[in-house]
Symmetry: C2
Subunit: 158 residues, 2 copies
């Protein structure tokens, strides 16, 4: 019943809806300022900045994976970086998340990636346990640094 397929430009409204559903699930719906125009331009033009995999159950969309290629200098290989993974609440418990992770692992190998990477919140124990059950290593020593908004403009001198 489960089918995983690459998204096309026609899926942009669905993708934005799934992004909003994920944000609502994480109780931060106002954080989504992405638009259909931006997603169509950045994901489905001549140089796509990301890829989306749609999960359908008996023809109905039930989830998505949003990913792109990062790069490992030491390996000299791309890395498959998973930005968002979401299964609609009503479709959970059917192994869809695990099947999507398997699909992405195969995609990583098929595209010459040496590594498959994503992030998880440190308080999200169920997800951490799920990822560890898939064989993933949870890295604690690397911290993420960010610059955005006013701080980014200030460093740029603008």
């Amino acid at each position: 019943m489960l089918r995983l397929r690459p998204a096309t430009r026609a899926d942009v409204p669905l993708i934005l809806s799934l992004i909003r559903e994920l944000a609502t699930y994480e109780r931060d719906p106002a954080a989504v300022v992405a638009t259909e125009e931006a997603l169509a331009r950045d994901g489905f033009g001549e140089r796509p900045l990301f890829q989306v995999t749609i999960a359908e159950w008996s023809g109905t969309p039930v989830g998505f994976a949003f990913w792109f290629f990062a790069y490992s200098t030491w390996r000299g290989q791309p890395t498959l970086y998973l930005e968002d993974l979401f299964v609609r609440p009503e479709a959970r418990g059917r192994g869809i998340g695990k099947e999507m992770m398997r699909y992405l692992a195969r995609t990583a190998l098929d595209t010459g990636c040496g590594r498959f990477v994503w992030q998880v919140l440190d308080w999200n124990s169920p997800s951490i346990e799920f990822y560890e059950s898939l064989g993933a290593q949870v890295v604690h020593e690397w911290l993420t640094c960010r610059l955005d908004g006013e701080a980014l403009r200030a460093l740029a001198g603008r």
Copy 2:
């Protein structure tokens, strides 16, 4: 005396040398398995997976920044992701690292990025202080998950 410029395919041997120097500085030179062929293919073909900025001091290469575009689904904007930043030890103390970070902040804004992101090791206090002095926020709650080697192949069923 400082000039920052985009790398070209002719810089690939220099880039690999700088990657190795960074790994040696981090006391892990054997971890570099990247080759000139891989870097030329992945960075200077039709669809470059990364960008490199070379720092020269009076015409001599003294450092590099290795970066690519990630993507923020909630923002609907690319993110400038800095993978490696390195200044040769003999060229330190001249503000080259800070100038490269400023250059990357300007590049982020010029390319429509809403965010500039990188990672730092949690024990690397001098770097953390440097990044915070640039206005960066160090995020502790997001952990990185990784799958590679045998674990990646096992999840893929290969």
